[in-house]
Amino acid sequence: MTPTGFLSQLLQLVIALLLAPLLLGWVNQCRGWLQNKSAPPLLLPYRTIRKLFHKDAVIAENASPIFRTMPYIIFGAMALAAAIVPSLATDLPFAQAADAIALVGLFALARVFIALAAMDIGTAFGSMGARREMFVGFLAEPALLMVLFTASLISGSTSLPTIVDTLAHREIAIYPSLAFAGVAFTMVSLAENARIPIDNPATHLELTMIHEAMILEYSARHLALIEWASALKLFNYSCIGLALFLPFGIAQGSDDWLAILGATPVLVAKLAVGGFALALIETFSAKVRIFRAPEFLGTAFLLAVLGMLVNLLLGS
Amino acid sequence: MAHTIAGLPLWAQLINLLAAVLLLLAFAMLAQRRVLSLINLFAAQGLALACSTAIVAFATAQPHLYWSAGLTLVLKVALLPWLLHHLIRKLDVRWDVEGLINIPTTMLIGIVLVVFSFNLAVPISQLANTVTRSTLGIATASVMLSFLMMITRRKAIPQVIGFLSMENGLFFAATSATYGMPMVVELGIALDVLVGMLILGVFFFQIREQFDSLDLKHLEKLKEESHL
């Protein structure tokens, strides 16, 4: 682990932490525009987080330490994921600590903790949210893994940097399998990030909420961390998607940290487009009933498997 | 048997004769219904065995086979039959022996077994360099016949006699076909037979004490139950 490598690693992490709420704000703003509402300001998420940090935390009397440490843990898990995902540079020191499969495991870890914390107080909403969250995760994870397998079949590796290297620096080829995988990945990301059509981040409607139901009991700095972690999660998923399907402009190697700074505008541009697409999807679709989720995610799974089959059939 | 009898020395002819006697006695035991006659037949078989062992000892000049012959004489002609007679008197079990299969069928099976044994022994006999090699087939046959007898008998004592007569056949194979095993082994075998017999004697009393009979049908309790 060279000092420059470490520095680059740190740089990517800091950029990810800073950019994440921006992406969330951008998506919300786009959605506002598309739906003909007065759009919330771009920097609203930063202000929300800052405001929450200043407040006094209110915690239920029967909360256990799990409840209080959970925000930090999921924040830590998401930060680590942000360090691993090759959003700006490929050959970062931490990248080898977890390949794509381990990364899915990392997300699952965060999910388990958030579900545990939701059930910790013992309220009806928390439990309901937890059970729904696990339900969605249970359906989404196989599909996500299938997507990753499809991508890794092309490069013969489950390590994200290797995948990116292979895809970005080979002669340009059209992989039909990646088209299937891309659609599937988008669907999974929507589900995992509590977006429409599986969940609606903007409401607290009792019967439909999933993510919000789990964090009802949180306030102040804890809630701030959770919000930030959610934004990071969205950022991570977007970066995985970009790395898999639009792997251009990512700096190669970790020695030159200036290259990382150079890669940042490219990333921001790609994220802007991606965020807009996300808002577009959310505008044109409607929230489905929770028991429609299997159909939605089943389709994603099917597409991913199809992509894999296509890949096996046509060769890469 | 592929070779002619006339070309053999007298002692070898004698052994062949005794072998035939042994086989005949085995058949007789298979057919015998009365337990006392069975013991007498067993004693006669022992005598034939002792004689043949002595003849082999004489012919091949192996002194340890005299020991073996003497041991057989004492053990199988005198001691064991006496023990069995004593047991029968003490236990008062003079009844006739009932077989599980009727005698003619048993005899038929016996004939088949003898043919099979001879057939089995032919290729081996031809390899041997002892003149009395053909006796191996007879020994095999008498072992098989004794086995059959053990299967078909219902009472404990005839079964044991079958067991002992099987040992006779084995001894015969050891002494006649191979001119005797090493002495250590023979002593060990004799000791085992004797001890086994004593244990059996003790056993008979206990079985009788527990079941009031020596009929083996009382000894059929330990089995898999037919219902689960």
Binding site: - | L216, K223, L228
Partner: protein, 161 residues
């Protein structure tokens, strides 16, 4: 050869769990653990320094629903309910639901998977049948046992002849 080589023996450091080589797939539990711990510790420090660590304890909010008893806790059955409902087609479910007017409401459910009925039960039954058949050989009579031995011998002798 008997025990097999350990994982991570392929060029990587002991930190790394790489079955084939780090370019193909890798996982380092120690780094993952340490980094998460570091970030958690750092975040706690920073948050508490930068802002404050004030907190108040109060009753659970629960969307303003005040009554809570231990009986309202989620059960394992409730927790698995969505998954069960989705996969209902794959199971054999018998459910008795109470109506709102029952004086003594009763809820009972029995979930059996089809594998149990169509795969395991036949296996169990056939195993039992085979066991019953094989049990017949152990039927207690010594002559029969001797016959087994006898025929084994004869068959083998016949076989080698």
């Amino acid at each position: 050869m008997l025990i097999g080589s350990t994982l991570g023996g392929h060029g990587g450091s002991w930190l790394l769990l790489a079955p084939i080589n780090p370019d193909r797939a890798s996982y380092s539990p120690i780094i993952v653990l340490l980094v998460i711990f570091a970030v958690v510790a750092l975040t706690i420090q920073v948050v508490h320094r930068q802002y404050h660590g004030r907190k108040r304890l109060g009753p659970a909010w629960d969307c303003g629903y005040p009554l809570q008893t231990a009986r309202m806790q989620d059960t394992a059955e409730g927790f698995g309910q969505p998954i069960r409902q989705v996969f209902e087609a794959f199971f054999h479910v018998e459910r008795v639901l109470p109506s709102p007017f029952d004086a003594t409401p009763e809820y009972r459910m029995k979930v059996e998977d089809h594998f149990w009925r169509w795969l395991y039960l036949p296996v169990v039954r056939s195993t039992e049948a085979v066991a019953r058949l094989i049990g017949l050989i152990q039927q207690g009579r010594i002559s029969v046992y001797l016959t087994y031995s006898f025929f084994t011998l004869l068959a083998l002798l016949f076989f080698i002849r």
